[in-house]
Amino acid sequence: MKATRVFQLTALALVMVSAVQVGWWLFDQHAYTVEKVAAARAAYAEQVAAAQALLDSGAAPARVQQLLSGIVTRDGRATLAPEVAEALTTEEHRRYRQYAWEGSFFLLALAACIAVIARALRQEAHVREQQDSFLALVSHQFKTPLASLQLSLETLALRAPGPEAARPLIDRMLADLARMEQMVTQILESARLERGRVDLKSEPLQLAGAVARVSAQLEERARQERISISSDIAPTLIVVSDPLALDVVVRNVLENALAAVRGAGGAHITLSARASEREVELLVRDNGVGFAPAESARLFQKFSRLRSGASGYYGTGLGLYIVRRLMELADGRVSAHSEGVGKGASIRLTWPAASMDARAAPQQPAAGQETRT
């Protein structure tokens, strides 16, 4: 990393020195040409003067023209031959043109080099900056569940509560561990996405299947927290995506919805889907904390977290960022909508539909499976 940087900076310095040299060379060549042309004109002027002197002293014009090339005499006056004067001017212009072309070519090439190196340097600085803030944020995010875990354990050690009183402490510790496990998963996922080291497949997948798989994983948690999840997705809807990425996207969006409705009475999450000519759309609606409409774009940025409020949600701020990146990689889209804080929210995921099934897919969702927990 450091050696690369030294190399880049050296290259940048060299290229910049070269650019200055090309500039100087241009200036020098131009001055040289001006000087040489002026010298040639002065020499010819001397010859014209000499010819005139010879003519004035009575020399035969033919003899004068023979002696001094490039001179014409007419009516006793010596002048420079028009073709010579023209050749001189042409040569002068030719040289200027040559310098202009060569010079601008080299300068352009060097400017391109400078731009490329400067861009690489800037990108590197940006990456370093992001890594630093990433590390700072990640370590900060881990410290809270760690502190909670340590506190619960030390409470158990200090107060030695009976099994009844220990239960909530143990539940809290398990939840803290689950939280850290989720963070590790999300951090690894986002780090992989960041470096572009994801090799995503593009295959036709049944959307209802993925939703059912993820819902089943979250069913237990939803039941404990008295959150109902209902999905109504036609099994005929086929999206083009990577199978793992599809599960990750659906899971992150569902987990986000679960966190948003936590603590709200009569909490429910609704999943519905529909297809158009070329796209399949999944809508995840909840009646949870919602957000200010102006924040909808910020939701998908890295490390953006909503105000926790009474529901006390804590996340890594990476879940929806991962969703956005994966949807981009799948040529899909994601958007969030809310009427305002406390008014629930919906997240819309759009994938390209499988081309063969697109024609067969129904416009309206057919009666799909209904799961209620």
Binding site: S139, H140, T144, L146, L158, R172, A175, R307, G312
Partner: protein
């Protein structure tokens, strides 16, 4: 704060698990605990209720802990504040104490240490309040200066009004209690800050400089706040001739 009533403590922490853990332990120790999940609610609560101590998380949604503490101090509220934070480097500690905090604990922390610090802060304040409770001890007069320990206000020898910070008032109180005797820097740290909050005893020196600037006619040649080289300080009410 009488001995029979439990000391009221406000816990401002947005993480529900951590808040629950802290509150259960404080309750088990006999404190009366109230919770606030963010800074705004904490400030609302503090506008209408008296607390003996505020446990304040630094990273809060909305207004952060530091600005909550600054707002509180600007309102004239001197309730002691113990900061909890995920960042524990010395610069952050200093920022917390500059914002008007009394102590600083980095997450994750040890339960016993946390309870010890809570007790230490409450004890210091108990001492400060009890020794400032009677009219005889609430006001200190020396060299034309007059200090009111209850109001954190003073008037210096040239008639200028002075607003004291809690630490300045506490240091002055400790020195006045031991007027004529030598008080070491370590004693001052222990009595006013507790323990190991600041990395060095130089902090005490800075506070003494501030007190000299406020109350000495010639801060360069002090007559009340005397340095005892290599040991600490000696306070004289009469002034050195």
């Amino acid at each position: 704060m009488s001995a029979t009533l439990p000391a009221p403590v406000l816990v401002v922490e947005d993480d529900p698990h951590l808040a629950a853990g802290v509150m259960e332990n404080l309750r088990a120790e006999g404190y009366a605990v109230t919770a606030a999940p963010d800074g705004e609610q904490a400030l609302d609560w503090l506008a209408g209720h008296e607390f003996a101590l505020i446990i304040l998380d630094v990273m809060l949604p909305g207004a952060d802990g530091l600005s909550v503490c600054r707002t509180l101090r600007a309102r004239g509220n001197t309730t002691p504040v113990l900061f909890l934070t995920a960042r524990g480097d010395p610069a952050d500690r200093v920022r917390g104490l500059e914002a008007g905090g009394d102590d600083y604990l980095a997450k994750p922390f040890h339960l016993q240490e946390f309870l010890l610090r809570v007790r230490a802060i409450l004890r210091r304040w108990e001492w400060y309040r009890s020794v400032s409770a009677t009219t005889a001890t609430a006001v200190l007069r020396f060299g034309g200066n007059e200090v009111d320990f209850r109001a954190f206000r003073a008037r210096s020898w040239n008639g200028e009004p002075q607003e004291l910070t809690e630490k300045e008032a506490m240091i002055l109180k400790v020195l006045a209690e031991h007027a004529g005797q030598i008080v070491s820097r370590e004693d001052l740290l222990e009595r006013v800050w507790g323990y190991d909050v600041f990395p060095s005893t130089r902090t005490v020196d800075n506070f003494i400089l501030r007190l000299r600037k406020r109350f000495e006619r010639d801060p360069a040649a002090p007559r009340h706040f005397l340095t005892v080289w290599g040991v600490g300080y000696r306070f004289l009410t009469e002034g050195e001739p």
